[in-house]
């Protein structure tokens, strides 16, 4: 079944909505998204599956305000993305990103990397410290706070990236192949942790992945190809 609009399947409040979103590169010669419609409800975990280049990452970037659609409308928490006024608030308080590569700053410690979003948002040190303690306790990193990134394993780095993404208590977590650079065993462990944390925090997860096994552990799995979301594989 091909759907022009992929509706959130539960009755929760819609926190992300994409309406007829188009995006192309190289002056329109490479069309990546061709009229995507999408909705995700509060607290849902949604997996976007599909081959490389099908537009999964592009869609996540658009949700996070990192890029602008050529056409169409994207709103997060009923507020349209890509209005410059909203963009900083969006990145600081509404969404958190986890990438395939951890994208941590190697010269800083685990704690310092996690403080970056709080520095950007002007959150005071005591609040940030308490939040860091809470997240690192949950992710099993509290004994590594003062360790530099180079000293951490791949799994620990990705868990650090998860902590950093959640520091400012965003409502939405956008994860682009979050376990793509990890071995199978670590990948499974990190992903389970990711699901546990988002469930505890009540965060909406939208994840791009190639790994169908991981995807099927989400509330919804959406298939992307040819620039569109075609069908809900599970609901």
């Amino acid at each position: 079944m091909t759907l022009s609009t992929v509706k959130a399947s539960n009755n929760g409040r819609i926190v992300i909505r994409a309406e007829d979103v188009w995006k192309s590169y190289d002056e329109g010669t490479i069309a990546v998204l061709k009229g995507v419609d999408f909705e995700a409800a509060e607290g849902q975990t949604v997996a976007l599956c599909g081959p490389s280049g099908c537009g999964k990452s592009t869609l996540l970037h658009l949700f996070g305000g990192l890029d602008e659609p050529d056409r169409g409308r994207i709103s997060v928490n009923n507020s349209e993305v890509n209005r410059h006024r909203n963009l900083l608030r969006l990145l600081r308080h509404e969404v958190g990103f986890v990438f395939q590569l951890h994208n941590l700053i190697p010269d800083l410690t685990l704690a310092e990397n996690c403080f970056i979003p709080t520095v950007a948002a002007g959150i005071n040190r005591r609040t940030a410290q308490a939040r860091l303690q809470q997240l690192t306790d949950r992710t099993g990193l509290s004994h590594r706070l003062d360790h530099r990134i180079q000293k951490l394993s791949g799994g620990e780095r990705q868990r650090t990236a998860l902590c950093r993404a959640l520091m400012n208590r965003p409502k939405i977590l956008l994860a682009d192949e979050p376990t793509g650079s990890l071995d199978e065993q670590t990948s499974a462990a990190v992903f389970q942790l990711l699901l546990d944390v988002v469930a505890t925090e009540g965060v909406t997860l939208v994840m791009a992945t190639h790994d169908r096994g991981l995807a099927e552990r989400c509330d919804r799995v959406l298939e992307m190809h040819d620039g569109r979301i075609h069908e809900p594989v599970s609901a």
């Binding site: 990452s57 970037h61 996070g64 990192l66 890029d67 900083l88 990145l91 600081r92 990103f97 990438f99 395939q100 590569l101 994208n103 941590l104 700053i105 010269d107 800083l108 310092e112 403080f115 970056i116 979003p117 520095v119 950007a120 948002a121 040190r125 950093r164 400012n168």
Partner: protein, 370 residues
């Protein structure tokens, strides 16, 4: 604290590059400090010659250089007789050359002149000054470079003079100069009946304004200025100061280009890192603040290092015997402030383009190629 660490981290990450950048600013600051201080010192010394035991200088109005000023002897005579004047000393300046010494400053003075009266006489007797037309007294350094001793004859310009004394003064120009009786100097420089300036000592300093008004009223061709006024307004001093600041400014500009180059490299090598910061909510001003912060640290360390190097260099110059008395290492606080401020501004200007570039980095493009 994290923000500061983000700034410092990049400097520590590329230590050699940071060092070169700091060294660039340091040498620029040192060059500016040295040039400006030496010229300020030279101006101070020249002012010192004029203000030796006097507070007012009278010279020909609208001359660009005191060497071209002509003050008639009649004016000297009349001004000396004014009740408010304690003493009025005519001085004739001239520049000659002799074998191996292209510039020797000559002072035509009377025996009563403070330079003769108050100097330390290393050889000879000041009472013998101006007894004969071919007598001269040499400053200590002039005696050294002319290899003259008491009683010897030295070729100066187109004539030969008999050395009847060697004196020491604290002023480098005077110490390297030749003192002639005023009459001899007038003949030698073909300025019979005139001097370059009159230096005036008043009985009461508070009568300076009245004195200046009187000179203005009596001599349309002359002008009287208090020493501080003269130092401020003399065009040669203005040119020297402007030159010093221009030369120093060019040095600082080169240092600024060094900072710009470093900061551009700094931004180019961490485009991805800046993108990560943007994704984590850093605003464009915060990114720019990081780049400016980095350049400000480079500038501050550069300025401090430059001040240290410059001061050491000035002291080293002062120790060179040939420059004895010419270099004054009294670094004025105003000069220090201006030099540090210029170094900071240069750093900020150097970081302007890199900061704009950093602000324009699009996170999505930087992160797309993982």
């Amino acid at each position: 604290m994290i923000f500061l660490k983000l700034i410092v981290t990049n400097l520590r990450r590329h230590r050699i590059r940071s060092f070169i950048s700091i060294a660039g600013i340091a040498f620029s600051v040192a060059a500016m400090l040295t040039v400006v201080t030496i010229l300020q010192g030279a101006i101070g010394m020249f002012s010192g010659i004029l203000s030796s035991d006097s507070e007012i200088i009278v010279f020909e109005r609208n001359v660009s250089d005191l060497f071209f000023s002509n003050v008639p002897a009649a004016a000297v005579e009349e001004i000396s007789s004014w009740p408010m004047v304690l003493h009025a000393d005519p001085v004739l300046f001239g520049v000659v050359s002799s074998a191996g010494h292209p510039i020797i400053t000559c002072f035509g003075v009377t025996a009563a002149d403070a330079r003769i009266r108050k100097a330390t006489w290393l050889a000879g007797d000041r009472l013998n000054f101006a007894q004969h037309t071919d007598d001269v007294v040499l400053g200590e350094r002039a005696a050294e470079f002319l290899e003259a001793t008491l009683g010897s004859h030295v070729p100066i310009g187109h004539a030969t003079f008999h050395v009847i004394g060697i004196l020491k003064t604290a002023n480098g120009f005077e110490d390297g100069g030749v003192f002639m009786p005023l009459g001899s100097a007038q003949s030698f420089f073909h300025k019979e009946g005139s001097s370059s300036v009159i230096t005036i000592k008043l009985r009461n300093k508070e009568e300076a304004a009245a004195f200046k008004s009187l000179v203005k009223a009596k001599y349309a061709n002359l002008i009287a200025l208090e020493d501080s006024e003269f130092t401020r307004s003399y065009s040669q001093f203005k040119i020297l100061k402007a030159t010093a600041w221009a030369v120093g400014g060019c040095g600082l500009l080169l240092g600024g280009l060094g900072v710009a180059n470093t900061m551009i490299m700094s931004v180019f090598t961490r485009i991805r890192e800046i993108a990560i910061l943007r994704v984590n909510g850093f605003s464009k001003p915060q990114i720019a603040g990081m780049i400016f912060g980095e350049s400000a640290i480079v500038s501050v360390f550069g300025a401090l290092a430059g001040l240290s190097v410059g001061t050491c260099f000035l002291y080293a110059l002062k120790l060179i015997p040939a420059l004895h008395g010419y270099i004054d290492v009294a670094i004025e606080p105003a000069i220090l402030f201006i030099v540090i401020l210029l170094a900071l501004l240069t750093g900020v200007a150097g970081a302007l383009y890199p900061a704009i570039y950093a602000m324009r980095i699009r996170a999505v493009e930087a992160l797309r190629f993982e």
